[in-house]
Structure formats: structure tokens, C-alpha cells
Assembly symmetry: C2
Homo-oligomer: 285 residues x 2
């Protein structure tokens, strides 16, 4: 399985991520089709040369020609779309996605998918606080990580193919991990941080403090500007992992609170030194 720029790519769901994939792959001379129920998105992408062909509903002919299908849909919509439209897929086609949770998606889709088509899951860990194809840009991949998330059903060829896709898109790091490892990691690194940012903004009305804001507060709440539709779904689809991350984080906040209340300066300093030491591992990246 090779990525050849003579291949036809079909992007289903032309939002911020689908549009950014389209831009990155178009520059490499792939032929890009897209399907999105929003005709504005399709029109904009056609007018700006982001895609070669566009449709506002599943087009059997176009789907039958696609060698590669990339899904930029919300998790719950994604499964139903595959169930409804896989009959149009070309035999030997390869499918990938951009979904931010994996266990609840990957096994289900692989179990319903036709035997002559392979689904290799991926998670491009890039994002912006704005939405839609109009804001899409392949630049957001540059300093970001691309995760390939295979199961035992995947072929080694598909895993290699997907790693190559991540590199072609321009990601700085391409890593392979299981759906279970992925969801555990993403619960901590991404979902817990969004939960904290929301809690910081909603725990009291502090908008009058905007005049005094330090960089630290601005950094911690950048992601408090959040797509409620997408993130509430992602939270709920990774509920167990996220609940346990929240519990672990809150227990540690309680420990710090107790050290502060009991004037335990050395205890606070030890926590701060551990924090600084661990953070160094992230500085290098």
C-alpha cells in the first residue's frame, strides 16, 4: 500500500480539520473530492481551489472512485455514515479519520466494515479555537503530533501507510499507539485540561479582572473558548478515563490546599520542585 499522488482522495466532513487535510494534500497534487452537508463550505472550498470536486450528499460515483477516504465527522455521525454508505466504496479502498476518541469508534467501525476495505484510525493532535473550512490551514500541523491508532485487525501495510500520511501532512511527530493507550493519554493531556479551563472561567464571574490578566491566566484559559457541541460529545465518549483523571487531579489539588492551610512551606516547595523537574521533560519537545 503506497501513497501515490495519482490517487483519488475523498474527504467526508469539510470542517477545520477536513479543510486543512485538503489544503495539505492538494499541494502534493492529489485529486481531492469532498462531501459536506453545508453547501457554503463546499462552495468556498471549490472557489478557493481547496478541493477539485464537491458534493453536499454522498455521491455514489465519486465514492466509488475514491482510493482513500478521510473522515472529519463527529464520532456518532461517523458510525452511521459508514453503515449507510459503505456499499458505494471501491474495493481495496483505505479509510482513516481524525476523531479525538478511539475505543468507542474504532472497534465498532471495523466490525461493520466490508472485508475488502480497511479502516486505520488516526488522530491529528492539532486544533484552533475557530471552526470551519474558512479557518482551515495546514500550518497547524507543523508543531503537532500525528497519532496512528491501529487494532489487531489492521495490516502492517495500513499502519505504514497511515504513518506516511501523517508525515506528508507535515506533522513533526508521528507515533503509533493502541486505542486504549490513546484514550487514556488523551483524557489526561487534552480533556482534563479543557475541563480545568472551563472550570476556571465558570467558577465565578471574573470578567472584570480582564484588565489585570497575567499571561498565566490567559494561557490557562485559551482553550476555555470551546466548541460545546464537539467537546461535550468527546467528554462523554471517554467518560471513565476522564472521570478518573479529574479525581486524581482533584485529590492533588486537595493535597496542595492542605499543605497551604497547615503552613507547610517545605511540603509546598517539594511539590513545586517535583513539578519543575517533571515539566522539564515537556520543555524538550
Amino acid at each position: 500500500m503506497k501513497l501515490l499522488n495519482t490517487q483519488n482522495i475523498m474527504i467526508v466532513g469539510l470542517g477545520l480539520m477536513g479543510g486543512s487535510y485538503a489544503k495539505a494534500l492538494k499541494r502534493l497534487d492529489f485529486h481531492i473530492c469532498a462531501i459536506d452537508t453545508n453547501s457554503d463550505s463546499i462552495d468556498f472550498a471549490l472557489e478557493n481551489g481547496i478541493i477539485d470536486e464537491g458534493f453536499t450528499s454522498p455521491d455514489p460515483d465519486a465514492l466509488g472512485k475514491a482510493d482513500i477516504l478521510i473522515f472529519g465527522l463527529y464520532p456518532n455521525v461517523f458510525k452511521q455514515w459508514i453503515a449507510d454508505n459503505q456499499k458505494y466504496f471501491k474495493s481495496g479502498a483505505i479509510i482513516t479519520d481524525v476523531t479525538g476518541v478511539k475505543q468507542c469508534i474504532v472497534y465498532d467501525i471495523q466490525s461493520i466494515l466490508r472485508d475488502d476495505v480497511e479502516f486505520i484510525a488516526a488522530h491529528p493532535m492539532a486544533g484552533r479555537e475557530v471552526y470551519g473550512v474558512r479557518n482551515s490551514t495546514e500550518k497547524m500541523f507543523r508543531d503537532a503530533n500525528f497519532l496512528v491508532v491501529p487494532t489487531e485487525k489492521n495490516t502492517p501495510g495500513a499502519v505504514e501507510w497511515c504513518k506516511e500520511l501523517g508525515r506528508l501532512l507535515g506533522f513533526i511527530n508521528v507515533t503509533v499507539l493502541s486505542p486504549e493507550e490513546h484514550d487514556k493519554m488523551i483524557g489526561f493531556v487534552s480533556q482534563l485540561t479543557h475541563c480545568i479551563a472551563v472550570a476556571l472561567m465558570t467558577c465565578s464571574d471574573n470578567t472584570h479582572l480582564a484588565d489585570y490578566t497575567a499571561d498565566s491566566f490567559r494561557d490557562l484559559t485559551r482553550i476555555a473558548n470551546i466548541n460545546d457541541n464537539m467537546w461535550s460529545e468527546l467528554f462523554l465518549l471517554n467518560k471513565e478515563a476522564l472521570l478518573s483523571d479529574i479525581d486524581r487531579f482533584m485529590a492533588e489539588m486537595q493535597t496542595l490546599r492542605d499543605l497551604l492551610e497547615s503552613d507547610d512551606r517545605e511540603g509546598l516547595r517539594a511539590k513545586m520542585r517535583l513539578s519543575t523537574e517533571r515539566r522539564a521533560a515537556f520543555n524538550k519537545k
Copy 2:
């Protein structure tokens, strides 16, 4: 009271902040002296033209010539230094500081200070994750806020003088607020965020996740690289305000946790929409 560049400025404590003040004021042709117990810091600053004169202990002659004294010391050291050395101050001198907490400092110092010298407190809300005069730079003031924190004892002239100092240093915003308002605000905007960043790093050993880090996690933990000596002192000196901020934040985390556990998607979405709406107030700044 006017800021004239014929005046002698004495900086006591030539660290990151003291050094940055020195650089900003030297460019405006003020005559800059500094005192720091670390002879390396003084030597470096002299060799690099950051200061005009330097001392490693309180020099009676130099202190007697200073029209303006700027204190970049840790809170507890600062009080003792004033008690020990104010006998050398020039009559009519004006004193300011850079301390990150105010109620525990300002009233004490004003009560022990000689009647012919005025202390007007200030908090330059700028910082870096590195320390010392070698890392000082006036650039960190550019997008930052300068807070003037007067009490009833201060003269209107000193308040205006201090506002002008903030503008001369290059701060984008200069604001006046009381020590009580200051400490309440800083507990939420700065100390709580540092506490959260530390808890995120120390709640479990997640350094193996560095390969997968998203921008969100990097942003939230940038300040987890923390000066334990300084911040443990700042936390304890603003203990009551910080404890109540931690409690409010944790109660809200618990609410989000409960919404998630009970699959209350609409409840989660309402919190996320409120978060996005409030965050917009900070985007404008």
C-alpha cells in the same frame, strides 16, 4: 514629584525583575545604582552596562544619594532590609517595589518608614520561567500590566509618579487598586493558576506522555516550571484569598464531574457556552 532623568535610582535586589527595571530605565538615561548580595550579578550588570554603579552590601553613601529606591527583594527580606537601612535614605526619597503580594507588606513598611520618605507600592505583572539578571529584559513589560497599589497614607503626587514610572518602563496598561483588591485579584488570576499547573504535573508521573503533548497541555503547564522559594512564600502570604479561590475552583470541578458522571450533556454544554462567553472578555485584551 516628577520623574527626571537627572535623578539617581537605586535598585535593591538585582534579579530578573530588578535587572529588567535597570535596563528599561538606563535606556532613558537615568543614573542606575544597584545593591545585590550576589557579586556575580553585580559584576555581570556592570560589565554589560546594565547599571552605572554596584554594591554587594548596603552602601551608606550610595543610599544617601538615591532619589528613587526600587526594591526587587522577596517579601520577608524586604521588610527587614528597610528596618535595618532606612537610616541612610535621603530625605524626600521615594520608594517603590515589585512584590507580588501587598497587604502583608505595604502597611507594615509604611508604619515603620521614616516620615520624610514615601513608599508607594507597585506590582509589575510580568515574569519569565527563568531567573536572575542574566535573563532580564525590558521586553517582558511590553504586553503586561503595571499595578499601582496605594494606601490612604500615600499622597496623590506619589500615585501619579508611580503611574508615570509604569508607563516609562513600557507597560501597556497601568492601573490603580487597593492592597485588598490587589491580593484578591492576584489570588485568582495568578496564584490559583500556578497551583493548578503544579497539581497537573504532580498528580501522577506523566512524563512519558511528553511525546503526545497537545498545545493545551503545554500552555497549562508552562508555569509548572516554578521558583519554589518565591512562590511558596507568595502562596503563604496570601493564604486566605488563595484557599478560598482553590475551594471555589474545586467546587466547580466537582460540578463538571457530576454532570459528566450523570451523562448530562446539556448541562456540560451550558457550562462550556458560559466559559466561551466569559473568555471573550479576555480575548479583547
